[in-house]
Symmetry: C2
Subunit: 428 residues, 2 copies
Amino acid sequence: MPPELPHSPALSHPTFFGEIDPPQRLLMGPGPVNAHPRVLRAMSADLLGQFDPEMTGYMNEVMALYRPVFGTRNHWTFLVDGTARAGIEAALVSLVAPGDRVLVLNFGRFGLLLSEILGRIGATIETVDAPWGEVLTLDQIATAIERFGPKVVAAVHGDTSTTMAQPLDGLGALCRAAGALSYVDATATIGGMELAADRWDVDVVTGGLQKCMGGPSGSAPVTVSERAADAIFARRHVERGIVRDDIDDGYGPRILSNYFDLAMVMDYWSDKRLNHHTEATSMLYAARECARVALQEGLPARFARHAAAGRAMSAGVRALGLEVFGDDRYRMTNVTGVLIPAGIDGERVRRRMREDFEIEIGSAFGPLQGKIWRIGAMGYNAMKHKVLITLAALEAVLRAEGLACPSGAGVDAALAAWGQDVAPGSGA
Amino acid sequence: MPPELPHSPALSHPTFFGEIDPPQRLLMGPGPVNAHPRVLRAMSADLLGQFDPEMTGYMNEVMALYRPVFGTRNHWTFLVDGTARAGIEAALVSLVAPGDRVLVLNFGRFGLLLSEILGRIGATIETVDAPWGEVLTLDQIATAIERFGPKVVAAVHGDTSTTMAQPLDGLGALCRAAGALSYVDATATIGGMELAADRWDVDVVTGGLQKCMGGPSGSAPVTVSERAADAIFARRHVERGIVRDDIDDGYGPRILSNYFDLAMVMDYWSDKRLNHHTEATSMLYAARECARVALQEGLPARFARHAAAGRAMSAGVRALGLEVFGDDRYRMTNVTGVLIPAGIDGERVRRRMREDFEIEIGSAFGPLQGKIWRIGAMGYNAMKHKVLITLAALEAVLRAEGLACPSGAGVDAALAAWGQDVAPGSGA
């Protein structure tokens, strides 16, 4: 419990808790990671009224900037004001009504999260499961869709809990054939691995800023297909306090949440500018700058940089004699699971990394808790020198903890692997 | 519809849409307003891992800083990651289960919003209503509670749609006597008018940063009494992916939202640090700096400054020959409703204010749309010179629009009224 403060004017001390001054820490976990300095600076721009022409201009620019990031031409590409998890819930609560049948592709903690959110919505849920460390085949998905006849299919693209990325080519065609809508949680891959909403032919995809986009948590980019937008607008219900002649309610069941009602959020992001929440302006500035940084680098170059970082990190930890977790073919490029060697206390290693080197690496959840570390290299941190520094520090810490590591081997192997160009999809 | 962008590498143009560069606009509407420069700078600090000791230290400081802001000793004082509306929904969905009886104190658009959110939760709703521009008496509230027997009573403190502030002393005692919990939406008053969660004896109060706190939208401070926390923890349901031995599920009906499940959010803000969303770090830095600025100024001084600004603004517009909207006794200090004179086009006036003077004043909703302007002076903008500049500009614009205004009278009256000290509650 934090120290209790008296409720008195004595609180008004000029040095109360001091200025914000976080340590300069290198965040090499599964996210959040350090933000790009341009993104941090963009947030210090002054605010605008929510219906100022300049503000709505920035909103329209954000829509345009995130279309290529999602790999889509969807008009409805915008932000939900909350963390990545807010984007997930907004998508699901807007697509799914109580009693709707939803199939969840489940291969890690974030697949479980989809089921958890859907359970609260009152959906009838079926899952198709892969063990942690593997992904699903298209055949398994097809069989499950055929058996269950879902109205919506929900998937995670990259699940940081297992470091696995689910291939999604072909998912949309299966859903089309079955008359189902589809949802993809791309929180952990957006900006780091290719998102291809249009080629996948999926309906709603959501992301976040705090991983490969190199921004802070707190804004969730989302894209919605015309088909899904029609389904969502059919559930439109305008608040009584702001009813207007030019916006009619839909015939479908009302969406269970007001804040996450994407019909209202889309009306807010449309020329109608229907009043809903007050757009989180500083976070919108951040989201805009994240996308500008990504598009200026070029998405193919950015994906290649993440792939090089992932390749270098795995090569490095393997050269240190450690084992990499999960199926190599499907590993995410931006986070690497590393088995904690026998006799080593994983939390002590993390503490030493933080205390001696100011480097954060991640622990794990559920069945993997205490078994793997998760080492990320994403966004502004998917850089050669940061991978090398992390490996050098890890080697020193492991040696201090009594593990015999080949001296300098991690850094050398990473440096060699960084330059190797490997065909996309080979998962090296 | 914004211009369609090709989905191609040609997007990676280095000047894509240009840097963030909003006009330097004075936001004198009902919010958002300009943020304090210290708050904008705080957001540019680098990020931290969500369980880093420095990060959890900042979280604990935020808890301590917001207790005096809410006028409470409640341990459970923290942030919801979203706009003020997210805080409202989080409070209601966590307090109220489907079928629960809820009484809403309704005297404006934001009372209607409470009913709207509660309707989606499936609550059985009764309202006690005052016309827009008035507030409710304690007798009216007592009678409604007695008649309806609610489980929860929900109120707005200051409703910017009508510029009225509902007196809340005595509300808690009525609720206690009836065995009801209580909720107060203080979005528009937090940091500008006294909040007295403990003296009011209310259970949950939520706010936002973008009005009198002088910050950006996107973080919602909330305080929860022990009584309400018990009721909410009774509905705890931990996600399957992160189940732990030290946290048991509750017996109550599961909360309909995962993101807004305050049981999980409180477990995240507790020493348990149960993983939930990834805290929006930059917005937490902003919320922390908003509170530091407010407490360093001193809350009584801050409330007096808002009162002076509101007093000066009404004196000024009256001296210009305009009429102030609503019951003087209950007007909010931070936003003033001004009747649009006959023959004047309210939107043209707003456009001229923006285009010639870079000053934003607000329009209105519902029954007041086209009838009043809403002119705010709050947070960093509740300053003498900003009130005077706004009045000078308004006079010039009104004259250009053909209204005969006594020359210089607005500014003179405001200057005189700024210095007058009036007993609190007299509403002058």
